[in-house]
Symmetry: C2
Subunit: 144 residues, 2 copies
Amino acid sequence: MKFLDIGEVSARSGVKPSALRYYEDIGLIASVSRHGLRRQFGAEVLLQLKLIAMGKLAGFALDEIAAMFGKAGAPVLPRAVLHQKADDLDRQIHGLTALRDTLRHVADCPAPSHMECPTFRRLVEVAGKRGRRPSRRKAVPRVD
Amino acid sequence: MKFLDIGEVSARSGVKPSALRYYEDIGLIASVSRHGLRRQFGAEVLLQLKLIAMGKLAGFALDEIAAMFGKAGAPVLPRAVLHQKADDLDRQIHGLTALRDTLRHVADCPAPSHMECPTFRRLVEVAGKRGRRPSRRKAVPRVD
DNA sequence: GCTTGACCTCAAGTCGACTTGAATTCGTAG
DNA sequence: CTACGAATTCAAGTCGACTTGAGGTCAAGC
């Protein structure tokens, strides 16, 4: 049986052992057994961790992520709720697109104060339009 | 002079007074004067707050946001860095798009375990490809 | 002139997501 | 068989972004 111990999972996923233990604590992932004291993880955990990383990128809290793709890949939430989260994501994508464009404008526009540049104002307004709460967001502390 | 006091700014922006004071503390926004004890804000603060909201949505830390659009709308960062942030945003947008598609797939696919569904796996892989740290993300506690 | 309500300051508390550290236990290589 | 390194548990600490609460100030309307 090709089980992975925590260091292996950490190396392959980039998630620290301490974080993996924490994820197991809160029931976000599960180890399949123990070899002595050591947790043994199945290979599917790597895919789950990718999903978790995506969820965090989108600003979902860990408990929301758990609800979206249950421990075994089973959707805990009703379809409608999932679609609603997808809709949130759509809005967020629009917001980020506008922010990206605004950022590029700021980088390139020679005007001294953007606050008075009509292009700038329009970009910001566009962004503001559809920004209704993406449910929640949490920390993503970056890989040091 | 049509200055706004903190309650007015709060009402128009949806940002709580306590948060506005905090933003001023850390130099993210500035009030133009005082009327007695009361802070008076210029109208431009509303636009700034939109920008701040966008930045938070994207997961930028407050100090990063401050650096991107200086207090007066002056870009504190060199163009290259701004473009790099825009690139980060692009990657993030791709990730979120993949997550959105994955979510819709999970909502609609009748398979009992997605972990074995090839469509699902492909979506997750696609998402994993270009997800290199959006710099940092922080809390967005939602409007209660 | 007095009340009222919106504002003020400052210190301390909260929350999620981890990290850190100390003390301990394994399993494998030599 | 022993030493070593990798893993374990558990409590406590950290960080950013605010919020909360106590106690105080002020200007406008009656």
